[in-house]
Symmetry: C2
Subunit: 345 residues, 2 copies
């Protein structure tokens, strides 16, 4: 494949891991860092010690502190900022983006105040059609991608050519497998909401409940994600694919998941502030709980796990009571529980 | 609820755990054991040390070595024998079963030579209509039920009254939640085939691949189970419910799963014979791989994970090559991979 110039914004754990995939695929990668110190560390020590300490970064990755330097001549720009920073990063990038650059994002969350998806935020700030934005998602812990463990993801876009182009950039035969999917909406909703379920899985594990309880929670979580997604217009098949059940399972059952870890700390009695301070990195599920709680009301969809997490995070409810209340739902015929969104549509 | 007499055949780990649920719910339980020694241990030491060592068995459970003693006066009979023994146990039971007894089974597998489901085997041997058999399934490791960890299961039956009656026997408010589901076929197929996927998950973990790879395997496994089930006439919703994705996730991600453990030992280079000798208990996924492999041909359904497991277990293929071949499938558009059974139907 042709060697092309690519830009990655910003150098968090996922951005750094994906930068290495692009470099492994033979591309030139310019990685934008928030601080000059971080750029210096990456360029001289070939490490991003704060966000992805175990990965050695090849020479094909160059870190820069000025965003215009990152974007100049870039044929692909990967946005991997936390959801709360996406609009600001997009605004900074908009003035320097090459007109033909392919725009891909790998951020899982909604904009809190507007409830907008990341592709919408990018389309607005970059002045591009929504259909030209690509979302990369799926079961992909950055730490494992950094170790080149076999990983499969989807690239979703309304534009088949854009999806195909993104697939060509990221796919390799060694460890990173990329599938295309036209359902941008479903992929973005799945990626965001599964972090709420992972917080719940962490609560359940932290309280000492077992794998039976967690599997039930994941099952109910999948139904809850699909109900919201279908109410918003997504394709039901997306939720049983890699970006749906795949990412949900990876996030709820792995020690790598920050959202799971945050949930398990909450269950041990730490306050939300203490948990966030200890994590030292963004826990997307916390903000997403607020957004999904609002979306559930807007679309009149039943989201019991999201409601219980909202009560634990923002209304002072005890973790134990929340998990017990989830277990004790009154429906006893399974399909009613799975498809109850239909009653509201 | 009324205290009723119930019988459990046989005293393996799952039968013993469910016997304790029935006893906790106030029922009289007679547990049939294969040996007089096992009955003696249960009655005197209140333990089943070989199959469920950590559970103390309450006085409400009485073990007997003669099957007619177990069945006499039993309003519910739970069949929890290994799939390979189900026909023999049903035949032994048929002469002594009370005419009004509710028949429930909790066994996950097919009869190897006939490819019949457990409900079919029971209906044939007990001389009852298929519609009166109930299957209990879902994410439910016996070891956790024995610790009274919160667990949710489904009871599936073509007869709504039978399902409701089984729900009344097993459900309690403390830790065991039971949902009804009319799709007996889908629930039995899910329960059986997920053990193959768990062997595959064990292979992947045993080879040192990570949670990203395992989540992809689980996603593909769910699609594979659903393809076979839908080709046989099951309801697609079953596969996203507790007996489908719930049980699949529990079995592929828990240290309690025997099938997962067997897969991880195979990946470490042990032969199938060595693995089975070390396990000391039935590993249903091994036989089920043979059955599902045959069913896939019969129904012309693509089952790549089952095919690879068949090659590892019975054709001498290396575990590593099998997992790599699964990763390297040539489809690159996700929905094609998920619904490719349609090409064969």
């Amino acid at each position: 494949m042709d060697r092309k110039r690519t830009a990655v914004l910003v150098a968090g754990s996922w951005g750094t891991a994906l930068a290495r995939v692009l470099a492994d695929n033979g591309h030139e990668v310019v990685l934008w860092t928030r601080t000059a110190e971080q750029a210096h560390e990456i360029n001289t020590r070939r490490r991003n010690s704060r966000y992805l300490p175990d990965a050695e970064l090849p020479d094909g990755i160059r870190a820069v502190h000025r965003i215009e330097e990152a974007l100049q001549g870039a044929a692909l720009v990967l946005f991997a900022a936390p959801s709360a920073a996406m609009r600001e990063v997009a605004r900074l990038a908009s003035r320097h983006l090459e007109p033909e650059a392919l725009v891909v994002h790998a951020t899982k969350g909604f904009e809190r105040d507007t409830l907008k998806r990341m592709s919408t935020v990018l389309a607005e700030e970059l002045g591009r059609g929504h259909e030209h934005i690509v979302c990369l998602s799926g079961p992909s812990h950055a730490e494992e991608v950094a170790l080149r463990h076999p990983t499969t993801v989807v690239v979703a876009s309304l534009c088949a050519e854009c999806g195909k182009a993104a697939q060509d950039f990221f796919m390799n035969n060694a460890y990173f497998r990329v599938y295309t999917n036209p359902d941008l909406l479903g992929v973005e909703i799945s990626g965001a909401v599964k972090n709420i379920i992972a917080l719940g899985a962490g609560l359940s594990d932290g309280l000492g409940f077992g794998d039976n309880a967690k599997a039930a929670l994941i099952t109910r979580g999948l139904a809850e994600i699909a109900r919201l997604g279908m109410a918003m217009g997504a394709n039901p098949l997306t939720f049983v694919g890699l970006a749906g059940v795949g990412d949900l399972v990876a996030t709820c059952t792995s020690r790598h998941s920050r959202n799971w870890r945050a949930g398990s700390m909450l269950a041990q009695g730490l306050s939300l502030e203490e948990v966030l301070a200890r994590m030292g990195m963004v826990v997307e599920g916390v903000r997403t709980t607020e957004s999904a709680y609002a979306l559930a009301r807007q679309y009149q969809v039943e989201m019991p796990i999201t409601e219980q997490l909202h009560a634990v995070l923002f209304e002072g409810k005890s973790s134990r009571q929340a998990v017990l209340d989830l277990m004790a739902r009154d429906k006893t015929h399974e399909n009613n529980a799975l498809i109850s969104a239909d009653h509201h549509k």
